[in-house]
C-alpha cells in the first residue's frame, strides 16, 4: 500500500473522526462503509469540500479496510471541510446522521500536512473469540500452532481464487490466548492479537487462524466461526513508540 498523500489543500480544515463498526453492520464491506459515511456527512450538512476531478467526490480519506465480519471501536476518517465547524458540533451532527452501529465517537482537527491515515496507521490490536470443537480445541494448542507458524515465517493462502502469501516476521507482533466460556455446544478460545501492516500487506486475523488450524498442533480441532473486533489502531514511529490518531501533538486548536 503506497503512502497516499493527503488530498486536502492546506487551506482546508481536516477533521479527524473516530467511529465504530458494530453489531450486524460488522458485515459491511469497506466500500459499503465508505459510501455510508459519505452519505452521513451529506446528511449532517457539514461544509464538506468536493474534489475538482471528473467525478467530483467528497474529500475524505479512510483508515485501512476492516475485513468483512470484523467489528471495531477504532476506525478513522479525515474529512476536509471548507469552514471550521466546531468539532463538538460536527460530532453531534454526524452522530445524528449516521446509523447507530457506525456512530462516530470522537472528532478533532488535525494538521493538514500529516500523512494520510491508511498508510500511517500501521499497528492494530484485535480481540478474537474462536468457536469450535474437537479434542484439541484449546488455548494451549492454539499457542503452539501460532508459534509453529511464526517459525515458518510465512502463510500461503487463497483470496478468492488468487494465491497470496504474507510474511509473519514483521506483521505478527504478538498474542495471548486463553480458554473462554462455552457457548451452547461450542467451546471457545479468546485471543488477543497485535499486528503490524506495511506496504507489503496487512495480516488479517482470519487468515492467521485458518492457517493455525491447518497446523499439526491443532489436529483434531475444528474451527466453526470467529468473532473479530479491532480494538486499537495507531501509528508506530521509527523508535517503535505508538502514537494515537488523536495524540495531542497532531491536533490543531479549535477556533
Amino acid at each position: 500500500m503506497a503512502g497516499k498523500p493527503p488530498i486536502g489543500k492546506p487551506d482546508l480544515n481536516r477533521l479527524r473522526v473516530r467511529f465504530g463498526k458494530d453489531g450486524r453492520l460488522a458485515y459491511l464491506g469497506h466500500l459499503e462503509v465508505i459510501n455510508t459515511i459519505e452519505r452521513s456527512v451529506r446528511r449532517a450538512h457539514l461544509p464538506f469540500s468536493v474534489g475538482n476531478g471528473f467525478a467530483r467526490r467528497m474529500r475524505v480519506q479512510f483508515s485501512q479496510a476492516l475485513p468483512v465480519g470484523a467489528a471495531s471501536c477504532c476506525e478513522y476518517y479525515d474529512l476536509y471541510l471548507t469552514e471550521r465547524t466546531d468539532p463538538d458540533e460536527a460530532l453531534e451532527r454526524l452522530k445524528h446522521a449516521t446509523p447507530a452501529a457506525l456512530a462516530p465517537t470522537e472528532a478533532a482537527y488535525v494538521g493538514g500536512r500529516l500523512p494520510a491515515l491508511e498508510a500511517w496507521l500501521t499497528r492494530s490490536s484485535w480481540e478474537v473469540r474462536l468457536l469450535g470443537d474437537g479434542g484439541g480445541f484449546t488455548a494451549d494448542r492454539l499457542d503452539e500452532a501460532l508459534n509453529s507458524l511464526r517459525a515458518v515465517g510465512q502463510i500461503d493462502f487463497m483470496r478468492g481464487d488468487k494465491p497470496r502469501s504474507i510474511g509473519l516476521d514483521n506483521t505478527l507482533v504478538g498474542w495471548t490466548a486463553c480458554d473462554g466460556a462455552a457457548e451452547g455446544s461450542w467451546r471457545s478460545i479468546d485471543l488477543s492479537l497485535k499486528t503490524r501492516s506495511s506496504n507489503l500487506g496487512a495480516l488479517r486475523p482470519a487468515v492467521l487462524l485458518e492457517a493455525a488450524f491447518a497446523t499439526e498442533a491443532l489436529e483434531g480441532a475444528a474451527l466453526d466461526s470467529l468473532r473479530v473486533t479491532r480494538t486499537v489502531q495507531c501509528h508506530e514511529d521509527e523508535e517503535g513508540s505508538l502514537i494515537d490518531p488523536f495524540d495531542e501533538r497532531l491536533l490543531v486548536a479549535a477556533p
Partner: protein
C-alpha cells in the same frame, strides 16, 4: 402453515460470514422503518436479490403508504441468493423479512411485485422458501393473503394460481384499501373465502379464484376468464388510476442501502404515463393517461430527498422525462441548487431530438460518457408501423448536436422481429449506425489511432409482443429467424467503430411464451421451478433447456407458443383485467400499423380515442404547456 411472529435474526447471523454480499441480509438501513408495531403486518417482496429489488420505486411507495396507516405495518423481503437459500434450507430457516427478521409466513399479507415476466420462477421459489403453500387453493384459513401487482400484472394468468388477489394499476391507495379490508374481515372472523369475495369488490382488485377459464370457439387455446356464477365478481376488472400525481407524496424513496444497488441514487417520479403511443410498448398503453408533477413540487422534493438520504445523485424518473412540460425549468433550477454539492442529476432516457440533447447536456456537465437514443427501427417505413414518431433527419440532427456538445460515444437501441419487418429494415439498422458514425467523424475528426475517436454501439432486443398493446395479436419471431437476422445485421454494421450487442434470444422465447399463455401456463412455471429454474433474469442462472423441458412436460412447445399469433377478433386470455385502453382502439391501431399510418401523442394534439380517460374518469394532467415546444 402460518408461523409465529418472532425475531429470528440470530439464526441468520452465523450464516453471514459464509455467503456472498452479506449486506443483502442486514436491514437497519438509513430510513428503514424499524418500528413495526402492527398489529396488522404486511410484507412486500421483490422476488430477486436485494440489490435488484431495493431500488424499485413502486415498493417504496407502498411501503410508505402502509407504514403511514394507523395500525398497519409494512416490511420488506427479497429472495436470498442461491448460496444463502441453500444454507437456510439446510438449517430449516424459512424466508425472513428484513426489518424484524420475522418469518414471511407469519405475516397477514404478503405482496409480490411483478416487475417483468422473468420473475415467475422466483415467485414460486420465494413462496416455497417462506413455507407458504404455492397454490392459493392449498392455503390454510389463517395463512397470509398473497397478493401481487406491478407493471407486469397485465397478463398475470400464468402466475394467477399462486395469488389470492392481483392489484391492477396505481397501487398507492389500492394497497391501503386491500390491507384494511383484510384486517377488518379478519377481525370480524370471516373465512378466507369470504375475505376474497370482499376483496373482489374493491376497485382494481382481481381475485383469480373467483373466475373460471373457458375455452370455446371465440377464444384462443388459452381461453378467457369469466366470473364464476354467483360470485358477483366483475366481468372486467379495470385498473385503479390516481387522477392527480401531484396530490401524492413526491419523496417516496427514503431508504439508503449499504450495498451498491442497481440504481444507487435518489429517484423521484416526475410524471406517470406516456401518450406517445409506440405500438410495441406495454407501459405506454397501461400507464395512461399522462400525469405530471408540477415543477415546484419536483424541485422541493429533490432538495428534501437529497438532504434526507445524503445521496449525491438524483434521477428524474418516468417513462419519458424529457416530455415533462417544465423539463427545462426543472433541470436549470436543480442545477442552480446543487451546483456546489457535487450532486449529479440524471434522466433515464433521451428524446430523439435536439431538445433531448440539450437536456442531456444540461445534466451531464463535463461528464459526457455516452448518450443513448432509441430509434427502435431502421427504416422510416417500419418506424411508422410502430408509431415511433422520429425521422432519419431527427436522428441525424440529434447525433450531430450531441457530437457538437462533446459526446464521443453514441448508443442506439433497436428491436428485431417487429411486425412487417423485412431484411431491408435490418440492413437499415446498420446503415443508421454508419450514418451516425460518419456524422461523428465529420464533427470530431478521425484520430490516427484507436483512442479518442467516436464510436457507436447498437443494442438490439428481440421484440416480445405484449398484451394490451396494438401488437398483442402478433406472434414472436422464431429463434432461428432471429439468429439469421442477427447475422445479417452483423454484416451490414461492418465498421470497427460500431459495436453490436444482442439480447439473448432464448430468454426472449420464454418471456414471449409467458406473455402469451393463459392460466394453464402455470403448470409450465411450476415444473420449471421444480426442475431448478431460478433467477432467470440472471444470464448465468438462466436455463433454456430446463424451461423447454418444463414446457414439454406440461404438453407445450414453448417456442411454438411464443410464435403463435391470435386472430384479431379472438377473446384473449387477459381481457378481464384492463388498463382502460379499449380493444377497439388497439384493433384500430393495429390496422393503422399495417397501413403505416401514425397516430399522434394526445398530450401534444387532441384525444386520439384510446378510451382510458372516459372509462376511468381521468384525464391528462400537464403542469405547463407541451404545445409550446
Amino acid at each position: 402453515m402460518r408461523l409465529p411472529r418472532q425475531d429470528r435474526f440470530a439464526q441468520i447471523e452465523p450464516l453471514l460470514g459464509k455467503v456472498l454480499h452479506p449486506a443483502r441480509y442486514l436491514d437497519h438501513e438509513w430510513g428503514a422503518q424499524e418500528a413495526q408495531d402492527g398489529p396488522f403486518h404486511v410484507c412486500m417482496i421483490y422476488a430477486d436479490t436485494y440489490e435488484v429489488g431495493q431500488p424499485n420505486l413502486g415498493i417504496a411507495i407502498l411501503y410508505n403508504e402502509l407504514n403511514a396507516t394507523e395500525g398497519i405495518s409494512c416490511e420488506r423481503a427479497y429472495l436470498p441468493w442461491v448460496d444463502m437459500s441453500a444454507l437456510m434450507r439446510e438449517r430449516h430457516i424459512p424466508l425472513l423479512s428484513l426489518e424484524t427478521s420475522s418469518p414471511v409466513a407469519s405475516f397477514d399479507i404478503v405482496g409480490f411485485t411483478l416487475a417483468h415476466e422473468m420473475v415467475a420462477s422466483n415467485i414460486v421459489e420465494t413462496l416455497d422458501l417462506a413455507g407458504i403453500a404455492i397454490r392459493a387453493e392449498e392455503r390454510d384459513e389463517d395463512d397470509a393473503i398473497v397478493i401481487a401487482g406491478g407493471p407486469s400484472a397485465w397478463n398475470c394468468e400464468p402466475l394467477s394460481p399462486m395469488f389470492d388477489a392481483v392489484l391492477l394499476g396505481d397501487g398507492e391507495q389500492e394497497i391501503v384499501d386491500v390491507a384494511r379490508c383484510v384486517r377488518d374481515a379478519r377481525s370480524e372472523g370471516l373465512t378466507r373465502k369470504q375475505i376474497l369475495d370482499r376483496l373482489s369488490h374493491i376497485d382494481g382488485v382481481y381475485v383469480p379464484s373467483l373466475y373460471e377459464v373457458v375455452v370455446d370457439e371465440t377464444s384462443t387455446r388459452w381461453g378467457y376468464a369469466q366470473p364464476l356464477p354467483g360470485t358477483g365478481a366483475p366481468r372486467v376488472v379495470y385498473k385503479r388510476c390516481i387522477p392527480d400525481l401531484g396530490a401524492t407524496e413526491p419523496v417516496a424513496q427514503r431508504m439508503v442501502p449499504y450495498m451498491g444497488i442497481v440504481q444507487d441514487r435518489f429517484a423521484i417520479e416526475v410524471l406517470r404515463g406516456c401518450a406517445r403511443g409506440c405500438r410495441f410498448c406495454q407501459a405506454g398503453m397501461t400507464y395512461r393517461p399522462v400525469r405530471e408533477r408540477p415543477a415546484s413540487q419536483i424541485i422541493e422534493a429533490v432538495s428534501e430527498g437529497l438532504s434526507f438520504t445524503g445521496y449525491d445523485e438524483c434521477s428524474l424518473s418516468s417513462l419519458s422525462t424529457t416530455d415533462h412540460s417544465q423539463c427545462e425549468q426543472i433541470l436549470s433550477e436543480l442545477h442552480e441548487r446543487t451546483r456546489d454539492l457535487g450532486v449529479r442529476v440524471s434522466i433515464p432516457s433521451q428524446r430523439l431530438d435536439s431538445f433531448g440533447v440539450d437536456m442531456a447536456s444540461a445534466v451531464s456537465g463535463s461528464r459526457k460518457s455516452g448518450l443513448t437514443f432509441a430509434p427502435e427501427a431502421g427504416t422510416q417505413r417500419l418506424r411508422d408501423v410502430i408509431n415511433k414518431n422520429v425521422t432519419d433527419e431527427d436522428l441525424e440532427r440529434a447525433a450531430r448536436n450531441a457530437f457538437e456538445h462533446g459526446w464521443r460515444r453514441m448508443k442506439l437501441y433497436f428491436m428485431m422481429g417487429l411486425p412487417t419487418e423485412t431484411d431491408e429494415d435490418i440492413v437499415a439498422i446498420g446503415d443508421a449506425a454508419k450514418r451516425v458514425l460518419q456524422i461523428g467523424r465529420e464533427v470530431c475528426g478521425r484520430p490516427r489511432k484507436g483512442k479518442g475517436g467516436v464510436s457507436v454501439s447498437i443494442s438490439v432486443a428481440v421484440f416480445v409482443p405484449k398484451c394490451h398493446t396494438p401488437f398483442q395479436w402478433v406472434g414472436q419471431l422464431s429463434r432461428d429467424e432471429v439468429r439469421r437476422r442477427q447475422q445479417l445485421l452483423l454484416q451490414s454494421a461492418n465498421d470497427r467503430d460500431i459495436k453490436v450487442s444482442y439480447h439473448d434470444s432464448d430468454v426472449s422465447v420464454i418471456e414471449g411464451a409467458l406473455s402469451k399463455m393463459g392460466r394453464a401456463g402455470f403448470e409450465v412455471v411450476y415444473r420449471a421451478w421444480q426442475l431448478g429454474c431460478r433467477f432467470d433474469a440472471w444470464t448465468d442462472q438462466f436455463r433454456y433447456d430446463l424451461w423447454l423441458e418444463a414446457g414439454r412436460a406440461a404438453g407445450y412447445d414453448l417456442e411454438q407458443v411464443a410464435a403463435e399469433s391470435f386472430p384479431i377478433e379472438a377473446h384473449l386470455p387477459w381481457e378481464h383485467t384492463s388498463p382502460g385502453v379499449s380493444k377497439g382502439f388497439l384493433q384500430r391501431e393495429w390496422r393503422r400499423a399495417i397501413d403505416g399510418v401514425t397516430t399522434p401523442d394526445c398530450t401534444m394534439t387532441s384525444c386520439t380515442g384510446c378510451g382510458v380517460c372516459q372509462t376511468l374518469g381521468v384525464s391528462n394532467v400537464i403542469a405547463g404547456d407541451r404545445h409550446g415546444r
